[in-house]
Structure formats: structure tokens, C-alpha cells
């Protein structure tokens, strides 16, 4: 689905991301782990075409994205993103979940209703977002992306600010997404979450891609000593 | 940061300027006397010309509130001024009768004239009286601007209409009841080719800005005014100190006496000759003329 070749991104003179080669398969869940400042969020922004990479190739399906900025809206709409801190528009849960479809000039109450159901917020569909808790807001943010049924989900620490019950709910929703056949890139701080959900795990440290391995191998027989250290919760540089 | 610095400098400069300038004296202390009067005495420049003499002699500062006659009397009624100087005899008598003022003292008079568009479309110049002149304007349906503010001038206008069958309806096409001062009303007439009744002094004072208006009824000077009914008498009334203790009754009386003294009366008679070629007000302290 995605092919990254010799990808580099700089802010001024500082190289914040350097990935010689990485692929994302159309039906996998790839967990991005690594300490703060490792470049995980930068990578998500590049995958979402919110920024143009400084160097290298970014190939989505058959589109050489790195060569066509601004990216055509039709290509952008294949991808959905859930942010760490959701920002919702002033209105009801339904208004927010229907927004993406509205942008696509599609009115599909069924799809909106299904997405709200999937995040277990049917009882709050008509409620204004002001009356929602943090966990409920994050589930609305998931539902608004699910309503547009993207082929690739980018999830940026979607459970970082949630209580355990909501973490469980959101992880269940992520499994549902997988069942629909979409690919997911999940940025997480939580190695246990990566182990529970991911097919493959990628470790980034200071902008460098250290290792990409199937989940079992990453946790049990890592290729790089720093992966083992990271899993054990030691400081890695 | 630089903005804050320059702001500070500007503020300091302002403070310094304020400190060097005169510090205003107390507004309500013993050293000031408040006079409520009509706009005509103030706008014509008369008060500015004569009051400094009283301020020097009595060692007080005059505070002049120049408003419509109605409001001037109301200010006296509520005890917010020590003296009123107005020109609406009927309202003045009522004011005294109700006990708000001690006595009316005649001070001076001037006269009213009727001004209008240069070519005098209603032909009022040939009218037999001021009331007839107004009647001609009504007959010709020419625009007429009324003060409409219950002022002395407005009261006079209404008394003229009464002589010819009553005042026009306020929503008549040609009748404009402004509810504003003399200056504003003259400006309106200038802009709209309307007639209006004005005191001679204000018209002369503003004439330079009124190129489309001409004096059509009232003669070239008060002594040539064909209708004695157009005379306009000013009285000064001290506010009754029994109603409002704390007023400076003695000082108020001192002001009344000064205003009617031969020297001040002479100053009133001389005011305006230089600028307008004729006096704007005529001494009347002895009450030789009366309404």
C-alpha cells in the first residue's frame, strides 16, 4: 500500500526523520514505537501528506506522492487520521461523525449511524460535544474517521489520555477496524498495546528506523539490541 | 518592548504637560458660581466678553451651562445652578410662581427676524406683521424649520402661529420641527432652502456660513423691526435658596446686581458693534421695554 524509499525530512538544518526503506501492507497493523522525539508523529504527518518530505520517495498505491504536491484530494481522502487530542466542531456527536461524508457530498445516515454504533455512543448521538467526557470525545474522533471508511487509518496515540475502561473500548474498536480490512499505522508509547494489537512493530529512535519486525520476533528475538532494551523499558539513544 | 518604552515616554510627556498647565479649581467650592442660560447668550460670544469682569471683581469662577430655555429652568428647579438667564417670559413667571426663583430682573433684549431663501419665494418681505409672514409661508407651502425644542425662540414662534389660526401639524410636508439649537436649525434652513425664525444675534454671528439665507422680515436693525412683537426679553433669576440650602444666594445676588450695573449694561450695548456692525443685545436693566 505504502512504499517508503530513502525518505528524509528536515526542519531547517536538522534531520528529524531518516528511513532508508519501509513498506506498509494493505491489511496489516503496523505499530510505531520509540521514545519521545523519535519522529513518530513526523512520519504520520508525512504519511498523511500534511507535509512534503525533504527528500526521497513516498509511494502510495501507484502514486509517487513526493512528486505531486499538493496531493490530489481524492488520494488524501483514502486516508483517515485520529489525533492524540481530538478537536471537534461545535455541534452534536452526529454532526461531527457526519462531517467527513458531508465533505464528500455524500449523505449516508446508515454509515453515520453504524460508525456511532461501532464506538458505542448511540445513546449520545444527539448530544452536544460539550457534554462529553474525554474518552467519549476520542471515540467520536474515531467514529468520524470510520464513517468515511478510509483504506488506511493513522492513529496518533489514540489512548494516551484515556482511563483503562476507555483504553479497552478503543482497542476493541481498532480490532473492529482491522476486521473491515483496512490498514492501520498506530503510534503508541505503550509496548504492551503494540504487542496486543500489532502485526509488525517499527522502532524509531532520534529519527532513525532501528528495526521493523513481526510482532513476535520484535518482542522475543529482536534484531537490534536497542529494541530489546526499549521493550524492557530501559533508556535507549 | 520598544513599543512599551515609547508609550511610557508619551505618557510621561503628557503627565508633565498636565502638571505644568493649570490645575482646574474645585468645581463645587465657594469660588465658583453656576449660571444656566440659553444657547443664544453663549453662542453669540456675549458671555465670554463680559463675564471675566465679574470673575475678577468677585474673585469667583463662573460655570456656564448653555442649554435650551426649558432645560435651563429645569436645572434651576433642581438646584443645580445658582442663577438662570433666559428669555421666555411666560415660563419665567411660572418658575417664580412655583417658588423656584426669587424674582425676575430685566437685563436686556434683542429681536427676532425671519430668514429664508435668497429669492423669498413666499414673499414675506412685504408682509404686514411677523404672524402674517408665517401665514404666507404656510400658504405657499414653503419649507419652514422650527426649533421645536420648547426654547424661547420656539415659544415665540408658536405665539406667532396662534395669531394666524394655530401651529401647523408637526407632520406637515413643509413644516420641519427639529428639536435642535438655533445654529443647527439655521444650518438646516441653509441646506434645505427653508425659512426660519431666529434671533438676530445668532443669525449675524453665523451669517458667513449661511450663503443661501437672507433676512427677509425684521429690518436692518432692531430699531427698524416693523413688528414690536418680535422683541425678545432676557431676564436673570436667582434660584430660591430656601428650596435648595447650600446655594450661594449672596453671590447670586451680587451677580444680578453686576449684570444690571451701568458699566455692564454699557458693555452689553457695545458688544458686537465691532464684528457685526451693530449691537446684538440692547440694555434693559431699567425695564423701560417690557413684553
Amino acid at each position: 500500500m505504502f512504499r517508503l524509499r530513502d525518505l528524509q525530512h528536515r526542519y531547517g538544518p536538522r534531520t528529524v526523520l531518516k528511513i532508508p526503506e519501509m513498506d506498509i501492507a494493505p491489511d496489516e497493523l503496523l505499530a510505531l514505537v520509540g521514545p519521545s522525539g523519535a519522529g513518530k508523529s513526523t512520519l504520520l504527518r508525512l504519511l498523511h501528506f500534511l507535509e512534503k518530505p525533504s527528500k526521497g520517495q513516498l509511494i502510495f498505491e501507484h502514486n509517487r506522492i513526493s512528486h505531486q504536491f499538493p496531493v490530489p484530494i481524492a488520494v488524501r481522502r483514502e486516508i483517515g487520521m485520529v489525533f492524540q487530542r481530538p478537536e471537534l466542531v461545535d455541534g452534536t456527536v452526529w454532526d461531527n461523525v457526519a462531517l467527513g461524508l458531508q465533505y464528500r457530498a455524500r449523505s449516508s445516515p446508515d454509515q453515520v449511524g453504524k460508525a456511532i454504533e461501532a464506538v458505542e455512543l448511540e445513546h449520545l448521538a444527539g448530544a452536544h460535544i460539550r457534554s462529553l467526557s474525554g474518552g467519549e470525545l476520542q471515540r467520536v474522533a474515531l467514529a468520524r474517521v470510520m464513517a468515511i471508511a478510509p483504506r488506511l487509518y493513522l492513529l496518533d496515540e489514540p489512548t494516551a489520555n484515556l482511563d483503562p475502561r476507555n483504553v479497552g473500548l478503543v482497542e476493541e474498536i481498532i480490532r473492529d477496524i482491522r476486521r473491515e480490512g483496512a490498514a492501520v499505522v498506530l503510534v503508541t508509547h505503550n509496548v504492551y498495546q503494540a504487542r496486543r494489537l500489532a502485526d509488525r512493530v517499527a522502532l524509531l529512535i532520534s529519527g532513525d528506523l532501528i528495526e521493523v519486525s513481526p510482532v513476535r520476533q520484535f518482542f522475543e528475538d529482536p534484531q537490534d539490541p536497542r529494541s530489546g532494551a526499549f521493550v524492557r523499558g530501559e533508556m535507549v539513544f | 518592548m520598544r513599543t512599551i518604552c515609547s508609550l511610557t515616554v508619551v505618557l510621561l510627556a503628557l503627565l508633565a504637560a498636565a502638571a505644568c498647565g493649570q490645575i482646574p479649581e474645585s468645581q463645587n467650592g465657594r469660588d465658583s458660581l453656576r449660571l444656566a442660560t440659553t444657547t443664544s447668550t453663549y453662542d453669540s460670544g456675549l458671555l465670554d466678553a463680559i463675564l471675566p469682569d465679574f470673575e475678577r471683581r468677585a474673585g469667583v469662577r463662573m460655570e456656564v451651562v448653555a442649554v435650551g430655555t426649558g432645560q435651563a429652568l429645569e436645572i434651576g428647579r433642581s438646584g443645580d445652578a445658582e442663577v438662570v438667564l433666559v428669555h421666555a417670559p411666560a415660563q419665567e413667571i411660572e418658575f417664580i410662581a412655583a417658588g423656584y426663583g426669587t424674582e425676575r430682573y430685566p437685563v436686556m433684549f434683542n429681536d427676532f427676524v425671519i430668514v429664508g431663501p435668497l429669492d423669498d419665494p413666499a414673499g414675506i418681505a412685504a408682509a404686514g406683521s411677523a404672524a402674517q409672514a408665517l401665514d404666507r409661508i404656510r400658504e405657499a407651502h414653503q419649507p419652514f424649520a422650527s426649533r421645536g425644542d420648547n426654547s424661547g425662540t420656539h415659544t415665540k414662534e408658536l405665539s406667532l402661529w396662534v395669531q394666524v389660526g394655530g401651529a401647523p401639524e408637526p407632520d406637515s410636508e413643509w413644516y420641519f420641527s427639529l428639536g435642535q439649537g438655533m445654529g443647527e436649525t439655521l444650518n438646516f434652513a441653509e441646506q434645505k432652502d427653508a425659512y426660519t425664525l431666529t434671533d438676530r444675534g445668532t443669525f449675524l454671528a453665523l451669517r458667513a456660513n449661511l450663503p443661501h439665507l437672507e433676512l427677509h422680515y425684521g429690518g436692518d436693525s432692531p430699531s427698524e423691526n416693523p413688528d414690536p412683537g418680535l422683541y425678545n426679553f432676557y431676564s436673570v433669576i436667582p434660584v430660591n435658596p430656601e428650596r435648595h440650602p447650600g446655594l450661594q444666594a449672596r453671590l447670586a445676588l451680587e451677580f444680578v446686581n453686576w449684570l444690571r450695573s451701568p458699566e455692564t449694561q454699557r458693555a452689553i450695548a457695545e458688544f458686537g458693534s465691532e464684528t457685526y456692525g451693530m449691537p446684538l443685545f440692547f440694555p434693559n436693566a431699567d425695564g423701560a421695554f417690557s413684553p
Partner: protein, 212 residues
Amino acid sequence: MSPLGEIVILTIQVSGSALLLAAGFGLPLGALLGLAKFPGARLVQLLIYTGMGLPPVFVGLVVYLLFSRSGPLGSLDWLFTPTAMIVAQSILAFPIAAGLTVAAVRSVSPELVLQVRSLGATPGQERWTILRQARRGVLAAVLAAFGRIVAEVGAVLLVGGNIAGKTRVLSTAIVLETRQGNFGFALALGLVLLGLALIANALFLRLEGVRV
């Protein structure tokens, strides 16, 4: 119709028209300035913010000179008519409508804009969503503009002339009654004006779905 009734109706007509004009031009300009970047935008914004503090009498004077018989637009014969009052009040309220709209649009979080873009909004849809998000602030802009219009007296007195039955509105009637010493009636007129403003504001808020 009683004189008071005429005054109230004229007040509604003049204030309503002035608000329509001020908001009709001010809101789109404010939205444009808040959303787009173009050369001169900062200068325009500076002018608008300065205009929010325009002294009413000054605006009245400029409009007076414009429409006076010797002024450039004297031939329109608008001086001392409700039209001139509407023009003056629109000029006074326009910068408030525009300036507060700019502020409302700018106050929409950039993070929200990013997330909306992420949902697949085209640039046009993005702007539309920002405007919808700013609508409470825009409503406040309209209310502030209305407040300035309905309470204003200096400019309308100058260009309208406060003519009974023709250009007298509540605010100028209050001045007149005060000048005549009819403080009680002036106060009553003030209360009528307040009541009118209360009703208008309640209507605006209801329009926005706020229960009053």
C-alpha cells in the same frame, strides 16, 4: 399613529437597515481577512480596528459634508433624511462587524483546522467549517454592531436633523426631551430603547439556537 409609535417604528427601520448594511459588508470582509492572506491584509485590518473607535460626531460631520448642498453628493438630496442616518450608522457599525468577525474567525483553533483538513475537506470546505465554528463570535459581532447603532446619537442628530415625524428616532428624542428639561419622559424613552434592544438581542440569540 402616535408620535411615540412613529419614533419607535423609524428607529427600528433605520437601525435595522444600518445593521443589514454594516453586517452585509462587514461580515464577509471580516471572514476574508480572518481566513485568507493577501497583500495589504494587515493594513486593512489595522484600518478596521482603528475604525472601531470612530467618534460618531466625526462620522456624522463627514456624512453631512458629503451630502450637504455644496458637497460632492449634494445632488442626491439625502441630507436630513432617514437615508443619511442609515449611511452614517452603517459607517459607524461596519468596522465593529468586520473587526469582531476577524477576531472570531482567528480564534478558531489551528489544530481543529488541521483535523478538518485531515477529514478530507477541500480548502473551500475548510473555510466554511471555520466560519461555522466561529458563528458564536460572529453573532457577538452582529450584536455589538447593533448596540452601537441603536444607542448612537451624535451622528444621526447631525445628518438626520431630529425632525419630528420625519427623522426623529429614540436616541435623538431622548436628547431633545433632556434639553427641554423633561427628564422623566426622557428616562421613559430610554427604557423603551432598552426594551427594543432587549427584544432584538433575544431574537438574535434565538436565531442562533440559544434559549432565552
